[in-house]
């Protein structure tokens, strides 16, 4: 039991708990904060796996951008609209919803996780080799040589998403002003 393994196990345990809170926290705001915490812990997991660049990107993109966007989205909208009540257990398990929202998700999730874990435990994996020494340099050179076209496409994708988000927001404002 070396230090890396202990750190990994601690991070993993806390990550699973906080991911559980993302699903179960009563207030959507708390769920968003738990989500940011989970992302932060996953960045730590990346560090223990020797992926320094991805850990930094995880903190920048997920903790810095995605969580902030979700928090802003919750806070900038009218509270009553977004913080719509999550179903209570009794109304969750009512009529048809009993199968669709009560039984089926549990069966699907448990079956999926059980199958995946069984495959993981039964497969014969190669012994841990300890990765490559300088992953940052490796990623940098691979990204601009082998993967340069996907890299540029990702840039175009981000631009399209940016323009699309702005267009969606602007058009809605116009229509709302005309309507009122």
């Amino acid at each position: 039991m070396d230090v890396t393994r202990i750190v990994f196990l601690a991070l993993a345990a806390v990550a699973v708990v906080s991911a559980y809170r993302v699903v179960t926290a009563p207030k959507i705001m708390h769920a968003a904060l738990w989500l940011g915490f989970t992302f932060f812990l996953v960045a730590g997991v990346f560090l223990t796996l020797g992926a320094e660049f991805l850990a930094a990107a995880q903190v920048l993109v997920y903790v810095g951008a995605v969580t902030t966007i979700i928090l802003f989205g919750i806070m900038l909208s009218q509270a009553a609209e977004v913080r719509s009540r999550d179903p209570l257990p009794s109304e969750l398990l009512e009529g048809m919803a009993f199968w669709r929202r009560g039984v089926l998700p549990v069966v699907a999730t448990v079956a999926f996780v059980a199958i995946m874990v069984m495959v993981y435990l039964r497969a014969s994996w190669p012994a841990p080799t300890g990765g490559v020494a300088d992953t940052v340099r490796l990623i940098g050179s691979a990204l601009f040589t082998t993967y340069v076209i996907p890299f540029e496409l990702a840039a175009v994708l981000l631009l399209i998403a940016l323009v699309g988000a702005i267009v969606l927001a602007i058009r809605d404002d116009d229509k709302e002003e005309q309507g009122s």
């Binding site: 393994r5 699973v16 699903v23 959507i28 966007i69 909208s77 999550d86 993981y120 490559v132 992953t135």
Partner: protein, 104 residues
């Protein structure tokens, strides 16, 4: 350098993916479903990084795939939140059980 057996991060990825899947299937709040989808994408990234670390990936393919998944996830969350906020303004709720705009 890592000495973690590959099954540890794989099981962690399966657990996080399962939690995200369960949330996406049971929740009715659109923002919370979005958060669960992000959780699932992150679980997949853990798997990719674990394989990259274990298989001594000289081409860094696993980490670069994870990087592209991050890019797509960032674009996805921006667009999804824009759509959800428009929905909140028009319908005054974001309960996906009561949204029929795209159904017919």
């Amino acid at each position: 350098m890592t000495t973690i057996p590959v099954t540890y991060p794989l099981v962690l990825g399966a657990a996080l993916f399962g939690l995200g899947l369960y949330g996406a299937l049971t929740q009715r709040n659109a923002i919370r479903i979005l958060m669960c989808v992000e959780l699932m994408l992150n679980a997949v990234n853990i798997n990719l990084v674990a394989f990259a670390a274990t298989l001594r990936d000289a081409a860094a393919a696993g980490q670069i795939f994870a990087l592209f998944i991050m890019t797509v996830a960032a674009a996805e969350v921006a667009l999804a939140l824009a759509i959800i906020l428009i929905l909140a303004r028009r319908e005054k709720h974001i309960d996906i059980e009561r949204v029929h705009l795209l159904r017919w």
